[in-house]
């Protein structure tokens, strides 16, 4: 087995190109990548969708061969396959690679055998890992019955059985709840202390900041590599927090985004965060500007925003000007009115003996952005399907647009726009064909239909993609198309189920700008997400866990609930963790 010296890097790529054939074209997943990972450090791999993160991981694990260039792992060239080197590499693929019909113990046994550990050593190591991951009590449970967070920890344990020198984690925190994310990081930190080299891809900026080094990948090329200050130092003096006494954050953000010299404005817990091109842009009366330390997210936006403006033409332009009827309507907007558009009372849904949703009550007012937050499996999608009349409720009452959804579902459907998880577009129809189909499906005819389609193409900047099949679109564009299709019949209520899942950070912020614009026009929006930072964009939200509502209110109210002496200013994520822990304590006390 190769022995690494202090100086040599556990993973080196030299001029690596990887192309895949897609139909007649060759797609460059990686396009001339040179990099070196520092031994004993945690390196974060970031980049938008399709940047080549998974390809890079698979190359390092010896699962793919580079089209040209060389990959050196632990001092050995991978040109002829990884062979015995794979004993020293731990790799966790995106879907964790578990056998769902095997129990936790059986999965561990299988991977111990595959790593050729002798039974005694295997048992000892398994014991250590079960302790580390706190999976001990679940040894006999089937992997398929574990929660997302537990699956992720089991997948990690399987990759760690023969303590690897190089650990590769491909998006380990996608779709798991904040608690599981925190636990994963505790494990990664423990490994870092033991000197394991870790390369992990992620789409969370806060995770990038916890890494020793960051690799930013875009369109198959390395954009920048280095420790965090390397990214943030050039932005010093360009980041500001803006507050306004009279204006709500959303309106303030809109005003700031359009201002000269502002590259980006985003809503955070404390106020609106602004990234300027240079120095401080001009302040308006009533605004309170405060210089802040740059964060990785600022660097990400600055670096990728620049690339996209240089490369693309009209596609990546923000929708601010074109899409939105100006904000004058928004001032008298009904958000603060009290017409209830959605009323849910004591909603309950059982699948067999399993209670997917219970005691769910909330009210959504017209023009609100209402969020359902929670990890995968919290019951968000089930609640949504009941609201849209796609799934009958087991008990409770629900009214959408004044219609009782348990009786007359079809009457309400014409007033609802629905974007399903993963978008549910016709993959082998082109963008134009998808639009035409959905327009027909909503019963639009003649001139009205032509107008609706023309508007959608313009507002969502889809004209350039008219003839492209939906399957071949980047995820961000697909999301735009799905939104355009759901809005063709101009519904006053829009349901969005995990619209930002898997979509890269830039496409996500563009998406939220559109949603804000729609809300400003008076559309009521219900949205589910497992990204806690997106909560700040909502007017009000509910936090769900295991089918129950833990808390509801405005983002500020929720954060307020979780405020403690040690954490006077908790983020939404910290608030979520606290609320769940509190909830569990209550359950334990009750039982």
């Amino acid at each position: 087995m190769a022995v690494t010296t202090e100086a040599s890097s556990p993973l080196q790529l030299r001029a690596v190109v990887k192309t895949f054939a897609r139909g007649k074209d060759a797609v460059h997943a990686l396009d001339g990548v040179d990099l070196e990972i520092t031994a004993g450090k945690v390196t974060g791999l970031l980049g938008p969708d399709g940047a080549g993160k998974t390809t890079l991981m698979r190359l390092a694990a010896g699962l793919l061969r580079p089209s040209s260039g060389s990959v050196t792992v632990l001092g050995r060239d991978l040109g002829r396959g990884a062979g015995s080197l794979q004993q020293a590499i731990g790799y966790m693929p995106q879907r964790f690679g578990l056998y769902e019909d095997l129990s936790v113990q059986e999965n561990l046994d299988l991977y111990s055998d595959l790593q050729d550990l002798d039974p005694k050593a295997a048992r000892q190591r398994q014991q250590e890992l079960l302790e580390l991951t706190a999976l001990g009590p679940f040894g006999r449970r089937r992997a398929g019955d574990l929660s997302g967070g537990m699956k992720q920890k089991l997948g990690l344990a399987c990759a760690l059985l023969r303590a690897p020198q190089l650990l590769l984690l491909d998006e380990p925190t996608v779709g798991v709840d904040p608690i599981a994310r925190r636990e994963l990081w505790q494990i990664v930190d423990a490994l870092r202390r033991q000197g394991t080299t870790v390369l992990m891809s992620t789409s969370y900026f806060d995770e990038a900041e916890r890494c020793d080094e960051i690799l930013l990948l875009n369109a198959g090329k390395i954009l920048q590599q280095g420790p965090l200050p390397h990214f943030t130092a050039p932005l010093r003096g360009r980041c500001f927090l803006v507050r306004h006494r009279g204006l709500r954050r959303r309106l303030l953000r809109e005003a700031l985004q359009g201002r000269a010299g502002v590259l980006d404005a985003r809503i955070t817990a404390a106020g609106v965060r602004v990234l300027s091109g240079q120095g401080q842009p001009s302040a308006q009366p009533g605004e309170e500007w405060q210089a802040v330390e740059p964060a990785f997210e600022d660097a990400f936006v600055a670096l990728l925003g620049r690339v996209q403006e240089g490369g693309a033409t009209n596609a990546s332009k923000t929708p601010e000007q074109g899409a939105v009827k100006p904000a004058e309507k928004a001032i008298g907007r009904a958000g603060d009115g009290d017409t209830a558009v959605v009323e849910v009372h004591d909603l309950r849904k059982c699948f067999g003996s399993f209670e997917a949703v219970r005691q769910c009550s909330f009210t959504v007012r017209q023009g609100e952005i209402f969020g359902l937050l929670g990890a995968n499996g919290a019951g968000k999608t089930t609640t949504f399907r009941m609201l849209c009349g796609l799934l009958p409720a087991s008990s409770g009452s629900l009214k959408v647009a004044g219609v009782d959804m348990r009786r007359a579902t079809s009457a309400a459907r014409g007033r609802i726009g629905y974007v399903a998880q993963k978008f549910a577009l016709y993959g082998n129809l082109s963008v134009d064909q998808n639009l035409a189909f959905f327009a027909a499906a909503y019963g639009l005819r003649g001139g009205h239909r032509r107008m609706a389609i023309a508007n959608a193409r313009e507002e969502f900047q889809l004209a350039a993609y008219g003839a492209v099949n939906a399957d071949d679109l980047p995820l961000g564009i697909k999301q735009r198309l799905a939104l355009a299709c759901a809005l063709l019949h101009e519904p006053p209520i829009l349901f969005l189920d995990e619209p930002t899942s898997g979509v890269d950070p830039l496409a996500r912020r563009e998406f939220w700008q559109r949603i804000n614009a729609l809300a400003a026009q008076g559309v009521t929006i219900l949205i589910t997400t497992h990204f806690m930072d997106e909560a700040e964009y909502c007017d009000r939200l509910v936090l769900m866990s295991l089918g129950e509502i833990l808390a509801q209110g405005s983002p500020a109210q929720l954060r307020q609930q979780a405020r403690t002496a040690e954490q006077p200013e908790p983020t939404m994520e910290e608030a979520f963790i606290r609320l769940i822990e509190e909830h569990e304590r209550v359950i334990r006390r009750a039982s």
């Binding site: 396959g81 990884a82 004993q87 590499i89 595959l114």
Partner: protein, 371 residues
């Protein structure tokens, strides 16, 4: 090759088989279902064929002929008053054939003129029609012989065919359908089930995780081959046991020859299954391909039901590419005729070559990589 890794993979496979209802359904339920269907339900023999009998003028002579029909296990005669009524019954498919004894039947018979019998058979089901025709002729022949015997005069036929049916004297179609079925059942387990379980590993992303461990490709392949080989042999033994003890099909050849040749065929089926799954990485496509290129040919082109010699020349040539053809021929010979060495050896050689071919290609095509 590392025995611990291989053991781990095989153990995993058996746990999965035990917990997966669809694997158990394909491996155990389907064979029993097919055996019962073909053993009890499907028969290519014509029995109790409804037959219209029209006797224009009943006499002693005509009644002995009708009695002959009535006593035959092959027919269930029904009497109709006129040929028109019988015709209507045939059109309505209430009967499959008509025997018409005209008014002058007895008179001509007694006068020594050879009388004719009208025989009409519904030819819509051509196969059945031919069989009914043959049986009718048999009854007719029998009747003539008995008349001659009664009269004390030998029946004069210029050429008398003394036919004897070898190997399956009762001509029970079950006796050759049930052995042939074993080929279909083993194709099901070897090719379809194997292709599905490998495709499932690709679909669920477990193959990617497997490949990131130090395991070798040969170990992954053997880890699939060994469990499903055992399953297939189990399916074979189950079918043989049912064939011999439940359906009373004779096993005249040696059990060990049967076992060995079955092992060879199973290797071919497994090779095809593994090859399919290296091309199709999702269960739906893998299942479709397996059914079209392995299961249906084993059913239709193997000689299991349809005689290969009576196929058009082009199809006949194609059947040489179907492994099940060789195995069906082996099975039918071993069960009904015995250890006929030329047949056993040639067919086994063909199976051996095919096994080498499919397993060899699979090994060459399988790389421990995702692209």
């Amino acid at each position: 090759m590392n025995s611990r890794r291989l053991r781990g993979l095989i153990r995993k496979e058996f746990i999965q088989i035990r917990r997966d209802p669809s694997a158990i359904a394909i491996a155990f339920f389907m064979p029993v279902f097919l055996l019962f269907l073909f053993g009890y339900g499907v028969s290519l023999d014509a029995r109790r064929v409804p037959l219209a009998v029209v006797v224009d003028q009943p006499t002693a002579q005509s009644s002995t002929l009708v009695a002959g029909l009535e006593h035959s296990p092959y027919f269930r005669p029904r009497h109709y008053a006129s040929i028109q009524e019988a015709r209507t019954a045939l059109l309505r498919r209430q009967v499959d054939g008509i025997v018409w004894l005209r008014a002058d039947f007895s008179r001509r018979l007694l006068r020594g003129q050879s009388p004719d019998i009208g025989v009409f058979v519904n030819g819509v089901d051509a196969n059945n029609a031919r069989i009914v025709e043959g049986y009718l002729q048999g009854v007719w022949q029998n009747w003539l012989q008995q008349r001659a015997l009664a009269a004390g005069t030998p029946l004069l036929v210029p050429v008398d065919a003394k036919d004897r049916v070898w190997f399956n004297p009762a001509l029970r179609s079950r006796d050759y359908l049930v052995p042939g079925l074993i080929a279909v059942i083993m194709t099901l387990i070897g090719a379809l089930l194997t292709a599905l379980v490998v495709a499932r590993e690709w679909e669920r992303g477990t193959m990617e995780a497997l490949m990131a461990t130090p395991v070798q490709m040969a170990e992954i392949l053997l880890g699939k081959l060994i469990p499903y080989f055992l399953m297939g042999m189990g399916g074979m033994l189950l079918s043989v046991a049912l064939a011999v003890w439940l359906f009373a099909v004779p096993l005249r050849g040696s059990f060990w020859v049967l076992l060995l040749s079955s092992a060879l065929f199973l290797l071919v089926a497994l090779g095809m299954g593994l090859l399919i799954s290296s091309v199709a990485r999702n269960q739906f496509v893998a299942g479709q391909i397996a059914i079209i290129v392995t299961f249906l040919p084993a059913f239709i082109l193997s000689g299991f039901i349809f005689d290969i010699q009576s196929m058009p020349a082009a199809i006949r040539i194609i059947t040489h590419l179907i492994a099940a053809r060789y195995y069906v021929s082996l099975l039918q010979t071993l069960f009904l005729a015995g250890d006929i060495w030329p047949i056993v050896l040639w067919n086994s050689l063909a199976l051996g070559l095919m096994a080498l071919f499919f397993l060899g290609i699979t090994l060459r095509r399988s790389h421990k990589r995702l692209d």
